[in-house]
């Protein structure tokens, strides 16, 4: 009971500190217990420390689950308007379901920043101040460029989700990244049933490498696939001669990069998305400033042996 009381007192005082002359910023995002979104939330809250020092606040609104993603997020955006937000940050995950909610934000005269999904096209269409996030094509491109510059010019992108637009964008970016740096790229198409099946991915990579001995670079579209691809390279007896870059990372991938079995990982840097979206809005509400640079890219961030130790420190702090 005493704990409850302390909690109540703490929250009421926190609320009383909020004055009318400051920015109350509402951030709509994923579940707070989702590893990626917990980093975005931390970035938003770290930027929110400035808002709080000025008497403002940052409030995180996330859905309970991802079953009903578009409508739930649209509801949260409308809820933020009802709660009297001075500024709103939100991802445009499902445009059909969410556009009208974003339009209501703009119609209410509330400054809006789109982040994480939707791109600058969504920000322009909806009348948002800016877009903060990564672009799938450029993430793939960064992987191709990195490997080609390291001298591994013949590459293949392992596509375990054929047809998904963002995955196609990774692979075409990767191939362009290789091609524009003096290499050639191809796509290893796997049936959709292979997605998430590490054994199937590893077997396919092994067979592909044995059939195409010239390939020295590979790109994986997710952290699980990265590990599976490395295992396939190992089974083909090509460890050390075929180099891998992959999207996203986890502890084992960081260990692989440190050990040299994976060349690089491409990160969209969620912390930056929360941090910059909130700062842009806070400064805009407080001082009327704008960021004329349209499309603030938070990714691709390349993680390789040169910066892996810093990334590990960032993971321990909860920011990466």
């Amino acid at each position: 009971m005493t704990m409850m009381k302390t909690l109540m007192i703490a929250t009421t005082t926190a609320l009383m500190a909020t004055s009318a002359m400051a920015a109350d910023i509402f951030v709509v995002g994923g579940k707070p217990d989702d590893p990626f979104w917990s980093r975005v939330k931390m970035g938003a809250e770290d930027a929110g420390k400035v808002a709080e020092a000025q008497g403002g606040s940052v409030t995180w609104l996330g859905p309970q689950n991802y079953d009903n993603l578009g409508p739930d997020a649209a509801e949260l955006i409308r809820q933020a308007i009802d709660q009297g937000a001075d500024a709103i940050v939100g991802p445009n995950w499902v445009p059909e379901a969410m556009d009208s909610a974003f339009e209501a934000v703009v119609a209410a005269g509330i400054p809006l920043v789109i982040y994480n999904a939707g791109g600058i096209e969504a920000a322009d269409r909806l009348g948002a101040l800016n877009y903060v996030g990564a672009v799938d094509y450029k993430s793939g491109y960064a992987g191709g460029e990195y490997l080609a510059k390291a001298g591994h010019t013949n590459g293949a992108c392992v596509n375990t989700l054929p047809g998904a637009a963002n995955i196609e964008a990774f692979c075409s970016g990767f191939n362009d990244g290789l091609a524009e740096n003096g290499g050639t790229g191809s796509v290893l198409q796997l049936p959709a049933t292979a997605f998430g099946d590490s054994t199937a991915v590893a077997q396919a990579v092994r067979a592909h490498l044995l059939q195409n001995p010239d390939i020295t670079a590979m790109f994986a579209i997710g952290d699980q696939d990265s590990n599976a691809t490395i295992s396939g390279i190992q089974q083909a007896g090509k460890t050390g001669s075929v180099h891998v870059c992959g999207m996203n990372f986890n502890d084992s991938i960081l260990a692989n990069i440190k050990a040299g079995t994976q060349a690089c990982a491409i990160d969209q840097q969620g912390y930056q998305q929360g941090f910059f979206a909130v700062s842009i809005l806070n400064n805009h509400v407080m001082y009327g400033t704008t960021i004329p640079t349209r499309e603030i890219l938070t990714g691709p961030g390349v993680i390789d042996a040169s910066n892996v130790d810093l990334v590990i420190a960032g993971v321990e702090a909860g920011a990466r």
Binding site: M8, T11, D33, D67, G70, I81, G84, V94
Partner: protein, 329 residues
């Protein structure tokens, strides 16, 4: 005073007291009530779970349970979107299709429940999982995608999926209130309501008394599945899209809101007014947390504690009501 005591012993009283308790807690946690009452999010949410909670509550009073509702909400949404969005057929077909799939799955649940001795939890678990499979496979097969856009004509939007008063209140709230009145009349002012209580109290005695137990049970299963697909249909029209999803959370949220509304998990006790207030309470617990300054990381803990307290309060009131002995006049 005596009138007040009588009021307190009504089945819905406990749920109203829990609702007040929840509001008091939130006021202490820093919620400004005018902002909360002005906001649409929790009313929309209450209507979404409340429409399904009404028939689920009656089903639970009759001693059965239906968890396939979790798959039926997305099934209704996807049926509408595939028929009228992907194949561009008139929205009437999409609406009828969604309701038809509700009637179909409800009938399967009901017939299996009365014809076999398999517990309803297991039967509807099987249809839950099966429907998740049907919806995902069907959607990928027919449209090649797991999410389908839909553009409903204006009249359909006005009736099923619109925002009212130029704000964010969804028209589904009106449906919820109308359905609640219909269910209240059905349950408390017709013989069918008494049948349901009798079935929940003792199925064999009810059968011996001449109540068509099997027919009533099948009808209740049809109502739960159809209410769920109706909610899904309204959502797809409002949000111009539908996506394949598991809907696991809806199951728990709807059943918990029914229990918060004073319905016994073992059947035989509960009321439509209680179920209505239960959905309202659950929605305020769930969405009210966003109106406090409490860190979101704690929200599930606080929701859990408040639900436990609300259900505990119900238990206490029910005992009070059932053990009460009126003074001889």
């Amino acid at each position: 005073m005596e009138n007040f005591a009588v009021l307190l012993r009504r089945p819905a009283a406990a749920s109203i007291v829990s609702l007040i308790g929840v509001l008091v807690f939130y006021v202490f946690a820093g919620v400004e009530l005018d902002k909360l009452f002005g906001a649409a999010s929790w009313v929309n949410y209450a209507a979404r779970i409340g429409i399904v909670a009404l028939p689920v509550g009656l089903l639970m009073i009759s001693g059965e349970i239906d968890i396939s509702i979790g798959a039926m909400i997305p099934a209704g949404a996807m049926t509408t979107a595939i028929i009228s969005g992907h194949y561009d057929l008139p929205i009437v077909f999409g609406i009828l299709g969604a309701l038809a799939i509700g009637v179909l799955v409800g009938s399967i649940n009901g017939i299996l429940a009365v014809r076999t001795s398999v517990p309803p939890l297991i039967i509807t678990l099987a249809t839950l999982v099966a429907m998740q499979g049907v919806v995902l496979a069907g959607s990928r097969l027919l449209t090649g995608s797991a999410s389908v856009p839909l553009n409903a004509p204006d009249w359909a939007k006005t009736i099923f999926g619109n925002l009212m008063f130029g704000g964010s209140h969804q028209v589904i709230i009106v449906w919820w209130v109308i359905l609640a009145v219909i269910f209240w009349f059905f349950m408390h002012h017709t013989k069918y309501g008494n049948w349901i209580y009798a079935i929940g109290g003792d199925k064999e005695s009810a059968r011996n008394a001449g109540i068509p137990v099997n027919g009533m049970t099948i009808l209740l299963y049809i109502m739960t599945a159809t209410a769920a697909s109706f909610v899904g249909m309204c959502h797809s029209i409002l949000f111009n899209s539908a996506q394949v999803s598991g809907g696991m959370n809806d199951i728990f949220n709807i059943i918990v809101s029914v229990v918060v509304g004073g319905v016994l998990l073992t059947g035989g006790f509960g009321s439509v007014a209680g179920i209505f207030v239960g959905a309202l309470t659950f929605a305020i617990v769930n969405k009210g947390i966003d109106f406090t300054a409490i860190d979101r990381n704690w929200s599930n803990l606080i929701i859990g504690i408040m639900l436990l307290l609300a259900v505990g309060m119900n238990e206490k009131f029910r005992k009070l009501a059932l053990s009460h002995v009126s003074k001889k006049k």
